[in-house]
Structure formats: C-alpha cells, structure tokens
C-alpha cells in the first residue's frame, strides 16, 4: 500500500496509516523528492500518529526525506509521534536529529507557517 501525498496549498501532507515495508518507505521518499519540486511546496508534513512502532530504517528514511525536502526548498516536520514510540526510540538510540517535530498535524501546520513568516526570504 503506497501512501498518498496530499497537497494542501503549498504544503504536502502524507499520513502514514499502517506499518510500511522498506520498499514502500523508499517509494514515499522518492514521491516526496519529486513532488516538492513539482508543486513548489514550502512545507512537508509526515503524520505518523497511527504508527505504534518506528524502526531504524523508518527513522532514517524520515530523516532523509526531511533533508531532501530542505535541499529542494521545503521545511519538513514529523508529527504525531506517540509517547510509547518516542520512548522506545530514545531507548534504541534512534533520534530525528535535525528534523522538526510537532505534536500533531495542527501544530505541524502552525510550525510551517511560523517558519515561513519568521525567516524565509522566499517571496510569498
């Protein structure tokens, strides 16, 4: 099952609803890399609310998506990491170093709006 990427204004949103295989994660990565440029997005939100586990490959892919988006000119934010997942991740030494995180989708959108208002030199 591939994850649909929704376009909401100049923000791309992907909500992951079930545990993904490594191949599906790679597909998601490619899709984001492509669409960020195509739609000239300034924000990318990955919603992991429904996931009850994030392994090392998923973490690395999320980080990689964020870095790629950054290089293509969009800020990425991972939203909805559950308390248990967060705890398990630090126990396993997995961290989303350098990737913005937010409590939920609403917060994620607010974050992207904030960043755009504060520092971005892009012409709106």
């Amino acid at each position: 099952m591939s994850v649909p990427i929704l376009k909401q204004g100049d923000v791309l949103i992907a909500s992951i609803q079930a545990a993904l295989s490594d191949r599906e994660l790679a597909q998601l990565h490619d899709a984001f890399a492509d669409q960020v440029g195509r739609f000239r997005s300034r924000g990318v939100i990955i919603d992991v609310t429904a996931l009850d586990v994030l392994d090392s490959f998923a973490t690395r892919t999320l980080r990689s998506i964020a870095y790629t988006a950054k290089l293509r000119g969009a800020n990425a934010v991972v939203v909805g990491i559950q308390p248990d997942v967060a705890f398990a991740m630090v126990q396993l030494g997995l961290s989303l170093e350098g990737v913005a995180t937010a409590l939920d989708l609403e917060e994620g959108l607010a974050y992207i709006r904030d960043v755009a208002k504060r520092g971005s030199h892009r012409v709106r």
Binding site: P83, A86, M89, V90, S95, T101, A102, L103, E107, G108
Partner: protein, 323 residues
C-alpha cells in the same frame, strides 16, 4: 459478624496470593502428601483431639517465655483469638480434609500473626515445641508398634510443614505489602508534571535518578505533553544532588523523547558544582537548552510561547518580567 468479616478478608488474601485449588494441590505435592497419609493420620486422631488444650497451652507457654513474641501475648484480644484458632487448627489437622476451607483457616491465623508482628522464626520455634509434644504423646501410646506410630506422626508432619509453608508465606506477603505500598506512594510522589501556563509544563526533579525512575519520569512527561498539548517543558533539576554520566544520559533521553513529540525542553537549576563536575567529566550536554535558575527558565519559556507578564500596578513595583 467479626468472624464473617475476617473470613472475607482471608478469602481476599488467598486470591491475592494466588491460592487456588491447583496451588493447594501443588503445595501438598511439595510436602509429599499422599492419599495413604490420611488413614495414618486418622489413627492418631483421637490422641490429638483429646489433648488439644494441652498442646495449645504448650504452644503459647513457649511463646510467652520469649521476648520476641511479646506483641502476640501482650494483647489479650489477639492472644485469645490466636488460642481459639490454634485449637481449631489442631482439630482440623487430623480430620483428613485439607482443601480450600482448611487453607482459609490457616490464612486467618497467619494474618493474625502478621498483625501481631510475629516473626517467622518465633512461630517456627513454638510450632516445633508443639509438634514435639504431639510426637512424644504418639510414641508413648503406640509403644508396642513404634514403627506405626512413627509413620502416623510423619504423615501428620507433612501437614504440619504444609501449614508452615502457608503461614510463612502469609507473613512474608504481609511484610512485602508494606514495601509495595511505600514504593507505590514514592512513585506517585516522585514524578509530578505540572501545567503552569497554557502549553507550558513544569517538571521538578528531586532526589536520586536511577534507570527505573528515569523511565517513569519520561513516561509521565510524555503522557502529559500529549494530554496538555504542551509545547515547552521546563525541567528543574535543582533538587538533584549529583549528576554523573548515567544520570545525564537519562536526562538526555527524556529531553530527546519530549522533542520527538514536538515539545521544547529547557533545563534549569544546574548548580555550580554540578556544572563543574559535568565539564570535568567531559559530558556532552550541548544538545540541552539550559538556563541558570527556574525563574530564568520560566521567562525563557514564556518568551518562546509569546507570553508577556505585566504587573497590574502602573506606578510602582518591579519592572515587568520578560520585557
């Protein structure tokens, strides 16, 4: 009425200790009790039931001679009840029925001992005296067939050890109950997460942080972040006396986990000694956002959240905070 309440309590305790039919059967197996023991015990039934009072007196005389048992003997009400239960015990011991009902009676007596603060070793001493008396009485009566008498007594002794197992378990369980309750209350007291403004949490940490506690602190913080939709957390470690690499690692984990949930953590209250020892140990805390004291931390948090605190007095008073 009091008996009924006591019986209900014993039943509840049995459930808590997991004493069901299967467990009782296992316990019988442990002491090696078999069906063939029942007739052997029946052979000395009359001997025991006729002299119950003597044996009970032996048991309690032995206890009253011991300083360690004073708490049981001193209270008349408890001592009377214990005597009565002991009498019932001796009668029940030779009836050949050792099911739930029998265990329930043992539990009740064990609870009484636990309430009186009787130690297992003291109980064992007195119980041994009691068995010795029964044993010598048995041997006296069956002097023509000493082997039969010995066999009967050994069968009874299996039940005696079955009883000892139960009583000691009750004593240990009751003692551990106190420890469990204390641990529970320490746990609840030790990890408060307080909301002090909309979307701002305060996490005061006091005392020693070990792995177990760090885990609890992290879990309750993460849950509170979710419940209160917190954006900033001020973690105050003024009350943490020493910080070594292990503790700092725990703190870092908590901060990282909170960040994964989208909350920003400000650490405050690192004393001069703590800061120096951290530098001396070469512990990397650069990932942490630290502010000197709690006040500074709260001001920083309010700044991040966009709060401005103003005094209501226009002409006098201190300058407004955070301006």
């Amino acid at each position: 009425m009091a008996d009924e309440i006591q019986q209900a309590a014993s039943k509840a305790l049995m459930r808590e200790m997991g004493l069901d039919e299967a467990n009782i059967e296992r316990r019988k197996k442990i002491v090696g009790f078999e069906a063939s023991d029942v007739p052997r015990i029946a052979a000395i039934r009359d001997l025991v039931t006729q002299h119950t009072d003597d044996y009970v007196t032996t048991f309690f005389n032995h206890l009253s001679g011991l300083d360690d048992a004073r708490s049981l003997i001193a209270s008349r009400a408890i001592a009377e009840r214990a005597r009565q239960l002991k009498r019932e015990h001796l009668v029940a011991m030779v009836q050949g029925e050792y099911g739930m009902k029998y265990v329930e009676q043992r539990i009740e007596l064990g609870t009484l001992y636990a309430k009186a603060g009787l130690d297992a070793r003291v109980f064992l001493g007195a119980f041994h005296q009691l068995l010795k008396h029964i044993g010598s009485a048995v041997m006296k009566q069956v002097d023509r067939k000493p082997l039969d008498g010995f066999e009967s007594f050994m069968s009874l002794k299996k039940i005696a050890f079955f009883d000892i197992g139960l009583i000691v378990d009750v004593l240990v369980f009751e003692r551990e109950r106190v420890i469990r309750q204390q641990q529970e209350s320490i746990r609840e007291l030790s990890t408060p997460v307080l909301q002090i403004r909309e979307r701002l949490l305060l996490l005061p940490i006091i005392g020693v942080i070990d792995t177990q506690r760090a885990r609890l602190i992290t879990e309750s913080l993460l849950r509170s972040i979710r419940a209160n939709r917190a954006k900033v957390v001020v973690m105050d470690i003024t009350g943490v006396a020493t910080i070594d690499s292990k503790v700092s690692n725990h703190l870092l984990q908590t901060v990282t986990a909170a960040r994964l949930m989208g909350a920003h953590v400000i650490v405050t209250g690192l004393s001069a000694e703590v800061a120096q020892s951290l530098v001396a140990l070469g512990i990397e805390l650069s990932k942490l956002n630290t502010v000197g004291d709690l006040q500074g931390g709260l001001e920083e948090a309010e700044r991040i959240l966009g709060y401005r605190v103003l005094t209501t007095a226009t002409d006098a008073g201190p300058a407004p905070e955070g301006s």
